[in-house]
Symmetry: C2
Subunit: 205 residues, 2 copies
């Protein structure tokens, strides 16, 4: 199937928009076309707001220097929130996993985003992740528990096992999200209740 | 389910992007979040290209003054293409329907976009559509056939019946896309082969 429309009325600007929309995750050629025609038919102000939101999110959002989640201020809202429980750090693979856990309302500690998982196939070892920064956060002794919330798939389990072996000798409790999450699944897509229960029923390692 | 993330790391810029993405057709809260995180993690140049494509499509694309499809030049590419068959006009509801028919490669005539369909419930009658402009295109006698390609649903059939009764007295042949399209369906989502066959097997009214 060919969705090239440059041969008729819509011209090059529409084709460029279709190309760019088609790069987005979960947006196939038909979805891209539907979105593009929606934008064409929309209030110009709505299109401008969408374009501005895309540009501003790139300009204003950066990595938190403490936990490596996304931040709009010097540090992210969690690291900057003095009411959070500073004795617990929940370790996740990606910033989106922070959002997933925050939505459960179950967890009130801090986070640490690894920026990926250990994957020898992709030549990603602990040195390529924010592991060193995690260990230095544990050095001052305030943190008593690290919750390993990497995905329940092969790389996530490998990463959790590695971190558990590295952190336990420091005298810090290490826990893992409870089973209950579908094995081989993706933490990002778990519903709030399931993920919330998995946090509450986390098992000590 | 609440996808508000303004309470933590991602801040307001991300929430604004989620809000804007959520307005797009077929993009629910989870898709919006997936796309937003893709944009956050993407090359800044890719985000800039997407934002630019959205703005440019609104700046550069306007309605063709002849057929009311989208155009980037004075008239749309179909109206401006002297090799098209100028004895036939295919009447569609929306500009996206022009794209759908162009993709079949079956039709080489001209188009006329009504800008909607007759819908008494929404107070849309022939006066609210580009019917008058269609009739004046038929006045010079070059056009010998009008193909009514509105959707095979209630409003589309009503519109086709109205146009057929209005146009046939002018001595112009009037045809309708063949059955074969799923009744109650949407022309925009028909596959090329089905839609192409429906054009070839159009029935005279």
């Amino acid at each position: 199937m060919d969705f090239d429309v440059s041969s008729h009325a819509d011209g090059h600007a529409l084709q460029r928009l279709l190309d760019e929309l088609g790069r987005l995750p979960g947006v196939g050629p038909k979805s891209a076309q539907r979105i593009a025609y929606h934008i064409l038919g929309a209030d110009p102000e709505e299109a401008r707001r969408l374009a501005t939101a895309i540009l501003e999110v790139k300009q204003q959002v950066h990595f938190c220097p403490i936990c490596f989640s996304y931040a709009t201020h010097d540090v992210c809202d969690v690291c900057g929130d003095q009411s959070r429980d500073r004795t617990r750090i929940c370790v996740v693979s990606e910033p989106r996993d922070v959002s997933a856990i925050e939505r459960t309302g179950t967890y009130h500690g801090l986070y640490h985003v690894l920026g990926g998982v250990i994957s020898p196939m992709d030549k990603i070892g602990p040195e390529q992740l924010h592991v060193r920064e995690l260990l230095s956060r544990l050095a001052d002794g305030d943190v008593t528990e690290v919750i390993l919330a990497t995905n329940p798939d092969v790389e996530g389990e490998t990463t959790a096992t590695y971190l558990s072996r590295t952190i336990k000798p420091l005298g810090v409790d290490v826990s893992r999200l409870a089973s209950g999450l579908p094995v081989g699944g993706d933490l990002e897509y778990a519903d709030e209740v399931t993920l919330g229960r998995a946090i509450e029923a986390r098992r000590m390692l």
